[in-house]
């Protein structure tokens, strides 16, 4: 009995470590500590379960060699993946790990269902307590949607799979959801006997997960990942119900609700509703043709001119985008900033809330290259400053500086808050080519009279700019 008490206390400590962990993760100074505390709590809960947990038959857990084997294999692979991943690939990494959690939840439901079936040895309809059935079925459905969706999001962000919208996709998805809920309800309440209903649900849920993420455009992927993250949290919470395990319930619900709020916050940053993100096909190309045609000419600038223009400015604002991250140009960008400051130019960075691929992603990338924290300005802080800015240097950003968001109601990004770079005296846009941005729409900023284009790879161009700055 004493062992059970100890395990209960361990679970309490674990649950509180999650709360403190998330709390501390919310502040830059304490974030690392928060992550560590949550990890320690998790380790306690895991090892406590292995050695102290007793099932209904008062037996300790067996198969310890299998458990430890799994833990070791998972830890080695997980650590290697997490250590190797480039900071630019962070969003897909999070999505991948999230998918693993979802799959784990789905497998738990499968095995528990199998137990019930084996006991009752009826292959049509297991006589299950309704409560337990709800938990098993929903755990499986949510877990497998989260798994399939996350894996597809991972592949899409890794650019292994392109966006695709099938005809009547939304109608089909809604229909599929109705089928899933229908089969689940029939089986849970025993209205209609469906043989092997759980396996059928597994297949349909996996398909639904894929179809759910398939049409959603790349720019909206962070929102989807965050949403799937909270799905997995809910799936974990169902596990908590299944085993009457409060630490699972705590962790799962906490992530489920925090994740949902995070999703809403991300949508707010783009001035869109969640429903709009999920069915709006933003960036899916559906509305591409409707956007206003743009007239004007592109004006290029040489690196020498760009360098001297910046050198004799008072204030330069750098707008980094995903292009900067792809080119791995964060470090050289920091060097450019130092070069300019050596010439008494005030340099700041304007960070759009969705710069990069996730909120805060760009901050992580720039922090990696030692850019000072105070120089990273959020959108609301920097927008009033553009009027007094001499040169804005846009590096690999596109949609977040597209004025169409303000003045073209036909544009798919209309209404999204953007950085008002066109208020500055001169705008230099570094871009690889005239290709449209991630949302797949033209940008009239490039045709503005004050805009000068500097074509080429961001890293190469920045390196040459730094060299020019040293010369002039």
């Amino acid at each position: 009995m004493i062992q059970q008490y100890i395990l209960d206390i361990i679970y309490i400590v674990g649950a509180f470590s999650f709360i403190f962990g998330i709390k501390l993760l919310g502040k830059p100074e304490s974030a690392k500590k928060g992550n560590f505390i949550a990890a320690v709590g998790m380790a306690l809960a895991v090892f406590g379960t292995i050695f102290l947990y007793k099932g209904e038959n008062e037996m300790h857990l067996k198969n310890l060699e299998w458990i430890f084997g799994g833990l070791i294999i998972g830890s080695v692979i997980g650590t290697m993946m997490a250590k190797r991943v480039q900071m630019t690939q962070m969003p897909q990494m999070v999505s991948f790990f999230n998918g693993m959690g979802g799959a784990c939840a789905a497998l738990i439901s499968l095995v528990e269902y199998h137990h019930v079936m084996a006991v009752d040895s009826i292959d049509v309809m297991p006589v299950m307590e309704t409560g337990k059935a709800i938990v098993i079925y929903l755990g499986l459905i949510i877990g497998s949607i989260s798994f399939a969706g996350s894996m597809l999001a991972y592949l899409k962000l890794d650019e292994k799979i392109k966006d695709k919208v099938l005809p009547f996709q939304q109608v089909f998805n809604i229909g599929l959801m109705v089928v899933i809920l229908g089969i689940a309800a029939c089986s849970i309440f025993g209205w209609v006997a469906i043989p092997n209903s759980l396996y059928i649900l597994l297949a349909i849920s996996l398909l639904y997960g894929v179809l759910f993420v398939m049409p959603i455009g790349g720019a909206d992927m962070p929102v989807v990942i965050s949403l799937l993250n909270s799905f997995t949290g809910v799936a974990a919470a169902f596990g908590g119900f299944l085993y009457d395990n409060k630490v699972m319930l705590f962790g799962g619900i906490l992530v489920g609700s925090a994740g949902t709020l995070l999703t809403v916050l991300m949508c707010k940053a783009m001035n869109r509703s969640l429903v709009n993100v999920l069915i709006g096909n933003f960036g899916g190309g559906a509305k591409k043709g409707e956007a206003r045609a743009i007239t004007g000419t592109i004006k290029e600038i040489t690196k020498t001119d760009a360098a001297s223009l910046m050198k004799y400015s008072k204030k330069v604002v750098i707008v980094p985008g995903y292009g900067l991250a792809v080119a791995q140009a964060q470090h050289i960008c920091h060097e450019l900033e130092q070069q300019l400051e050596a010439n008494d130019v005030e340099v700041k960075y304007a960070i759009h809330p969705v710069a990069g691929r996730m909120p805060g992603h760009m901050n992580v990338l720039l922090a990696e290259s030692n850019v000072a924290y105070e120089k990273l300005m959020e959108m609301d802080e920097i927008n009033p400053e553009f009027k007094s800015t001499d040169v804005v240097l846009v590096v690999g950003a596109n949609d977040v500086v597209n004025p169409a968001a303000k003045n073209d109601p036909a544009s798919p990004i209309y209404g999204m808050p953007i950085l008002n770079v066109e208020e500055a005296t001169t705008i230099i846009v570094m871009k690889r080519s005239m290709k449209a941005g991630y949302a797949g729409i033209e940008n009239e900023l490039f045709y503005n009279n004050k805009t000068r284009m500097l074509f080429g790879d961001a890293k190469k161009s920045l390196t040459e700019l730094v060299a020019e700055l040293k010369n002039v």
Binding site: G26, M42, G74, V94, T130, A236, Y243, L261, L262
Partner: protein, 101 residues
Amino acid sequence: MDQVLEFISLHQNMIYLVALMIFLGIELIEKVPSVLHTPLMSGANAIHGVVIIGAIIIMGQADDIFAKILGFIAVILGTLNVVGGFVVTDRMLDMFKKKKK
């Protein structure tokens, strides 16, 4: 339907907990600066890896080969979620720390 009502009555403590946790989760996140959204999402991602406890329990109670194989896979995937999640979050946060010097 009776069974559902009974289930709710039986698990009312859990249901109170769920309701409180939902509010707590919202409160905890609400005032976080957007700079930290990515690490926070990643940290939360690691925390829902707590589902691994369920995987350990099914592995530890598995008798037949079906449960053993699925349980084993579940333990591996759950560990990937937990360990990978925490390590990746730690790496991200390392970068915030460096610039403080």
